[in-house]
Amino acid sequence: MSISTTVQRSKELKELVFDIIKHADAALSSARIGKLSVAGRKDLETPNFFSLSSRGAVPHLTPDVISAHTQFGGVYMALEDFIERAGNATPPIMNCPGPFPLHTFAALPPSLITLLAPRRTPAVTAAVGNSNNAISIFTSNGFQTLSNKAYINYAEKLHPDIAVALADIPHGSVPGTKRVTKMADRTQGWLTELLSGRKEGKPAIFAPILSIDFLDQSEYINELADEFADDIDGLAFYDSNLLPDIPETTALSRLPKLSLDEPSSPRHILRQISLGMDLFTIPFVGFATDAGIALDFQFPRPSQEEGIVSKGTGSAPLPLGIDMWSTSHSTSLTPLSIGCPCYACRSHHRAFIQHLLSAKEMLGWALIQIHNYTTMSTFFHSIRESIRNKTFESDCEEFARAYESELPEKSGQGPRVRGYNFKSEGPVEQKKNKAPWLPLGGDDQVAQSVVPSDELAGKLEEMGVTEQADQ
């Protein structure tokens, strides 16, 4: 049997197909355009991104809003969000009927691709390390262990479109030299176990690349290139710096490459794309939304209208986002970003969104989330255009000149922090959420004494009900 027919055959069997459509100018960049096709889902042109979910929901967005107002092509699901009951019963999601329990359980629009990974990204640092056959996970009921056997069972039953194989990642802590040697061995063993038990190539498997030096995992990566390349469907990078070290074999370079590297700014995304990354998970979208920051950038340069607006500031780089907490927006009838096609910008204005944040109304974060995801979709669309036009490298330079390197600092509060995804740091910890209402003065204050006096009342009347007097 010739090699080409083997490839052809394995493609037919696979649920996931990745075609590379176009490479950027190879001398300058490894950026490329690809197409990710999963049976029954909408094709996804790469470079592109998956939105992050929390407990199966994209934060702030109900599934109807996702369908109507967002363009992202897939959702990242963390298994640890679903199995808090695993200790004493079958987790409910495992009882969900239908051929795609993960999809059905989360009521996701059928067009979206699901990506299952063991842990959230970013993940909470575990109290205890991983063992030879299990990792520590953080559920809403606390830390648990997840064995590779259990993960394989979940991945098979839940039927995500893509599953990232279990990896020995010490989230948040720096591994010692002894640990480093174990990490690659364990990961390789777990992957072997996963692939050998897989039926009919379901689900598609992305092999993890660890966040340690290439030399420390070279044996594992070479094994991926030599033995596993035809069985795996992609690579998941916990550290994008490893990209240039991956052997340039045909079998490996045809695989889609997913970044779980938590890029902190658009510039990091661009850098990873130029190294050959195809797919992203982008925690900063959610961070910006919760901080009340509306992302405001375009690739490679701001649109003309915005250029005119920004002329006043000279050639200083533009901020990447707008802090919507600022009262300077309180009467502004302009959209979040001029010319933005998103629902929030078409139907609402800055004044409303500023009001919603200030009143702590949940809709405020929902609208900013819609806007921020649309901004990212437009950003990736422009990147693909740029690669197509072979102007990607120069466009990246222009983007770097036009915009600041990092997102603006947050000034306002986010929505209420929920305990289950933030680990307690110690015994004398400050409250995560400020009390929205406090008693005025002390408890023993006499009611009458603080009610404004008669003389003051006249003055107050002139000022009107919304005016507030300093007293």
Binding site: H60, D64, C96, T104, F105, H355, A359, M362, Q448
Partner: protein, 450 residues
């Protein structure tokens, strides 16, 4: 300024009041006092009887205006008191009113801010000129007068605006204070009418006061009806009174109100209360309970309230309510989202999306309940509807029917077979502290999290 006395207020010589609505009576129930009507407001028609969900701070708890529209809502509530604090009158003026602020194409009703005096402000001081209180945000002193309230509501631009009234908690034993409040509300109505700048584009509703004293209510009805506002509200209720008393007050007032005007009972939203109140002749209702209880993980269904956070729903892969037509409950094949109880349980009190989903369902339930009542009234089968409703709501167990509802429906000539009135236990308050808790947690009084 007139001092607070209990002398009857003379009816001022008022010119006929313009109205920005048309009220068309469609049908009357032949047994009860229920009616079906069409009410045309500046931002489009609505069908009565009607439930209005409460978008306190210009947003219905996480739903986009688009999603609210999809529930069938065409008239929602904003709270003047909250909008006056945030974003404030200056911003509202600059933006061009509440419709423009929130991107809502349909009707808005604003309350006057009077209720918040009772529900929020322990430190309020009410005098003839208005209410003095401290800002709950930063403790600065504020003053709310009838003129301010109307001015603010004129700026908000809501389709229905409410007079500022002097609200005394209905269970207050102080009859003199109650009488004073009733008369003051009449005097404040006159000041509101005088202050109202947009009578051709905004409809001012008066608010009948008088506590649980039927004679006082009758007097207030007479005085206020003479002022000929486009619509009439029955106020001061759902503040912790016994349901028997509530029903007597509503029944008395609707008996005295003109037939060709909409009647709005403020702060009512439990399904049973809605059904009985419609039978007693009321048309419009509002309440934060359906949306608030959604954020606590409770789903309203025809078979009662379900606490979806209960472990029994963890593996329940059916819709929140079988046969419900809302976006969440409809199956994916029927263009819905196919949300299951298990998923809502998984999200409840952990991700706000769970609250949004139940909010959509609960608002839909309330609006659908009103629509089905309307259809039953038009087809003159409302008594049968009521029987079916109570049967479903209590799992066909007649002994669970609340006594107050049986008594109230008797007033409207509806009798349930095989029911008897027992000693009311459910609404007996053994704990005196409970008396101050509202029966229906009727007005949103703080920003609450899901």
């Amino acid at each position: 300024m007139a001092s607070a006395t209990s002398t009857p207020t003379p009816i001022p010589m008022l010119k006929p009041m313009p109205s920005a609505l048309t009220f068309e009576l469609i049908a009357r129930c032949s047994t009860t006092k229920a009616r079906a009507a069409n009410l045309t407001l500046p931002h489009g028609p609505v069908q009565l009887p009607l439930f209005m969900p409460v978008a306190t701070q210009a947003s219905l708890k996480g739903l986009t205006p688009h999603q609210l529209e999809a529930t069938g809502c065409r008239l929602c509530l904003n709270n003047t008191y909250h909008l006056g604090l945030k974003p404030g009158q200056e911003v509202l003026k600059a933006v061009g009113g509440a419709h423009k602020l929130q991107g809502w194409k349909h009707n808005i009703l604003t309350d006057s801010g009077g209720f918040q005096m009772v529900s929020l402000l322990k430190l309020a001081n009410i005098t003839e000129e208005g209410v003095r209180f401290l800002s709950p945000h930063d403790g600065t002193p504020m003053l709310l007068t009838p003129e301010h309230s109307i001015d603010l509501q004129n700026t908000i631009g809501s389709d229905i605006i409410m007079q500022l009234d002097d609200v005394v908690i209905t269970t207050s034993p102080d009859a003199a204070r109650m009488r004073e409040a009733m008369h003051r509300s009449i005097r404040w109505l006159d000041r509101c009418i005088t202050a109202h700048a947009n009578p051709t584009t905004q409809n001012l509703f008066c608010i009948i006061q008088g506590g649980l004293d039927l004679e006082m209510r009758a007097e207030c009805c007479k005085e206020m009806v003479a002022r000929d506002t486009p619509g009439i509200a029955i106020g001061g209720l759902s503040g912790g009174e016994a349901k028997d008393d509530y029903c007597r007050v509503v029944n008395t007032c609707t008996g005295l109100l003109p037939e060709m005007k909409p009647r709005y009972v403020m702060g009512i939203g439990y399904p049973e209360d809605l059904v009985v109140s419609v039978a007693l002749g009321a048309d419009m209702f509002d309440c934060v309970w359906p949306t608030r209880t959604a954020r606590f993980g409770n789903a309203i269904t025809a078979h009662g309230l379900l606490n979806i956070r209960h472990a029994r729903y963890a593996n329940d892969f059916g819709p929140v309510e079988e046969g419900c037509g809302c976006m969440c409950c409809r199956k994916k094949e029927d263009g819905g989202l196919g949300i299951t109880k298990a998923f809502v349980h998984h999200l409840a009190s952990k991700e706000t999306v769970g609250a949004h989903l139940l909010t959509i369902h609960n608002v839909w339930y309330q609006l659908a309940l009103m629509t089905s009542m309307r259809e039953a009234i038009i087809e003159d089968r409302f008594p049968a509807f009521i029987k079916k409703f109570f049967d479903d709501y209590h799992g066909a167990d007649k002994t669970k029917y609340p006594d107050w509802a049986i008594k109230a429906l008797k007033m409207t000539q509806i009798r349930f077979e095989n029911t008897s009135i027992r000693t009311p236990k459910r609404y007996q308050n053994s704990n005196p502290a409970r008396k101050t808790l509202p029966i229906a947690y009727c007005h949103d009084h703080m920003i609450e999290e899901a």
